[in-house]
Every structure is written in C-alpha cells, then in structure tokens.
Amino acid sequence: MSLSPALRWRSVPIEALVLREWDGEIVVRNERSGSTHLLGPLASQVLKVLAAADRPLTSAEVEDRLAATGSSPGTAVEVAAVLSEFGRLGLAEPAAAA
C-alpha cells in the first residue's frame, strides 16, 4: 500500500502501551488490542519518536527526528513501511492534517 507522504501519524496514547526494551529491541503490549508485538531496532526507534512527539508527525518528520537523536534513521521507504505496519497493528494511527 502506498501512503501519502503528507499523512501524519500519532502513536496510541502512551498509557495504552506497556514496553520493555532489551538491546535495542522492544516488546510492546497494546492495552487497547491486548496484543503483544516484537519491534526491531528501527521500529523501536520510530515508536519512541512518535510517543515523545507533541503532535502527529509525517514520515519525513519521523526520519528527521531519528537522525537528530543519532539513531540509525532507516530509509524513507523503511520508515514509511514501519508507520504503515504500526497502523495495521494499532500501535499508531493517521491523524488529520494540521
């Protein structure tokens, strides 16, 4: 599925997520869905960026913030794929444009 670059994403409320991180990998439980997911290093970083953001972010903004934190940013395609997967899993959702 191709997603618009202008699409903005926000994570589900942080209180709905229970996280544990080991060596760059995160296991997250989504209290809304009751599902538990394993996130690799890039997805872990993307989730942290979204959870820390004060507003919904585009894929490009997520990339910028990953780069600013010194994280391995991943390609635009990879970040977009992570966001899309987050949407499928209910870890993030598209928000209306600001």
Binding site: V18, R20, E21, W22, D23, E25, I26, V27, R29, E31, G34, T36, L38, L39
Partner: protein, 303 residues
C-alpha cells in the same frame, strides 16, 4: 502418606470408591478408576506422591472409565471424565493411563490461572531452573528425561508453572511423557530409569511414561528461580550447540508457548518480562543426548 504406603488392595479401594486424593505439586487430584492399567500406572509413576486424606479438598475430580455402551465389549474404550463430564473423545482402553496423564495436564493448563503456565519442561540444579519450552517433537521431554537421569531435579515435563507474585517456578513433578524414538533413546541413556510399557498407535504415536525421581517429588514444595530459558530442537546427529537468543525474541517465543498469557493481560506481560530479564536465553540444537546433558552440566557448573 504416599502412594507406596498403600497396598495394591488399598489403592484399588481408594480408586474405585471415594477416589484417590493424589497431590501433584500445588494441586490435589481426586482420581477414580476401576481399570487395572490405571492402578498399575499410578502405583509405578506416583509411588512417591503424597496421598491426601479421604475427605480432603480436591482441585480436580476426574475419572477414567469405560463408556456405557456396547464398546465395552467390542474394541473397548475409555473416557476421561472431569466433574462427571467428558471433555474429550474416548480412546482405546489400552491408552487409559496415558489418557489420565493428558487429562491431568488439561486440568492444570485450563484451570490453574493462579500461575502463568508455559508449555515447557523444566529442571533445576541448586535451586536454579532451566526452562525448556518446545513444541511436540522438539526433544524437550527427551532432554528433560536425560537431565533428571543425570541429577537435575524434575520440576515439570510438560507444564511449567510461574508464580504470579515472584516469577519463580512452582514444581509439578509428574511422569515424563516419552514418544516414539525418544523412548529407546532414554532407555539406552538411562537404563535405570523406570518406564511404563509402550502404548502404540496413540494420537501421538508410541508413548511411554518415565517415573519422576523420588527426590524431585520430595522437593515438590521448593520453588526455583528461572535461570536459563532454552528452546531445544532435536536434529539427528547435530552437535550440541547453544545459540544466544535476544531477550525480546525469547519473550515472544515464551508468550507463544504460554497457555494463559492472554488471561493475565498486563500482569502476564510484566511477569514474563521479569522472568526473561533475569535469565540467560538460548536456542539449542542437539542430536546426542549425552552431549546435551554434558553441556548443561557445564553451564550449571559455571553459574
């Protein structure tokens, strides 16, 4: 009192009358059966287990009995009854003891939600537990039998019970279920092990049970700290080899092997996270039981 204290006649009377109240780890099972094969299986495999008083509370009320139809005489069958209801299809009568074992597993995995229950063998040395989660055919029971034959304490062959408050492993020492080629493998490796006669053509192939070590039964009240989590995979002739597994992946695999992870919701997540954090985690291949047990002895000696 333990089962071995009862004469065969007394054991038969308990089984056929009010029921034998057999303690297995944290639960008491009230077992009723008039079948000689069930009596023989209990006399062999549960010889060291505590028998509770006749009026004692029992968690599970089970019975192994023939169906009340013509099948009693033609290709006889047996049923497992739980609170008088039959949750499973009948099986051939020669599988009666195996059916009791599978039924008791079901009782625990379906009802004991005071624990997080993982489909895993577990053994311990010096109070430190080695968890061996695995799907059928992974070789976990073979490895479990091999380790207890070399001095490891049996915590459980099939159902590892994690205490919700502490994450510690609560022992459930019951017979070890061996299948197909693993039966002869264990016989060769541990000729002193006490195995039942082999029952062929079950849904799981040929099945035999191995009596749990007496000491393991005596220590059934002593919990153990999960120290190693190892996912075994038997491969013919493969050298014994441990591969480090990330804790996050171990968490997911362990949750996949848990019977009631979802039941416990956030508590289950936090408990598994604690257990995984405190353990060393590996995938493990082996093809020779002697090599495998030596490797874990070495691992324990360094702990």
């Amino acid at each position: 009192m333990i089962v071995d204290d009862l004469s065969r006649r007394e054991l038969a009377e308990r089984l056929s009358d009010g029921g034998l109240r057999l303690r297995t780890g944290p639960v008491v099972n009230r077992i009723q059966s008039r079948l000689p094969s069930v009596l023989d299986g209990i006399a062999l495999h549960y010889a060291d287990h505590v028998v509770e008083d006749r009026g004692a509370f029992a968690d599970f009320h089970v019975r192994i009995a023939p169906p009340t139809n013509a099948r009693r005489w033609i290709a006889p069958q047996v049923r497992f009854l739980f609170d008088g209801a039959s949750p499973f299809l009948p099986l051939p009568a020669n599988q009666a003891f195996a059916m009791l074992e599978w039924g008791l597993n079901w009782c625990v995995s379906s009802h004991c939600h005071q624990f997080l229950i993982v489909h895993s063998a577990s053994v311990a040395k010096a109070g430190q537990a080695l968890l061996l989660p695995g799907h059928p055919g992974s070789g976990k029971s073979t490895l479990c039998a091999g380790l207890v034959s070399r001095g490891w304490r049996l915590l459980s062959d099939e159902l590892t019970l994690l205490e919700l408050a502490t994450g510690r492993v609560v022992p459930l020492p019951r017979p070890i279920s061996l299948k197909n080629a693993s039966i002869d493998a264990v016989r060769r490796f541990a000729p002193e092990a006490r195995l039942s006669a082999v029952v062929h053509d079950t849904a799981k192939g040929s099945v035999a049970h191995m009596k749990p070590p007496t000491e393991s039964v005596h220590q059934a009240a002593d919990t153990a700290q999960a120290r190693w989590i190892v996912f075994p995979q038997y491969q013919s002739a493969a050298p014994a080899r441990l591969h480090p597994l990330s804790r996050a992946r171990t968490f997911i695999h362990l949750a996949d092997h848990a019977f009631n992870y979802d039941v416990h919701a956030r508590k289950g997540f936090e408990l598994l996270a604690q257990v995984v954090s405190d353990a060393d985690c590996f995938a493990f291949e082996y093809g020779v039981l002697r090599e495998a047990t030596a490797l874990f002895d070495h691992l324990a000696s360094r702990a």
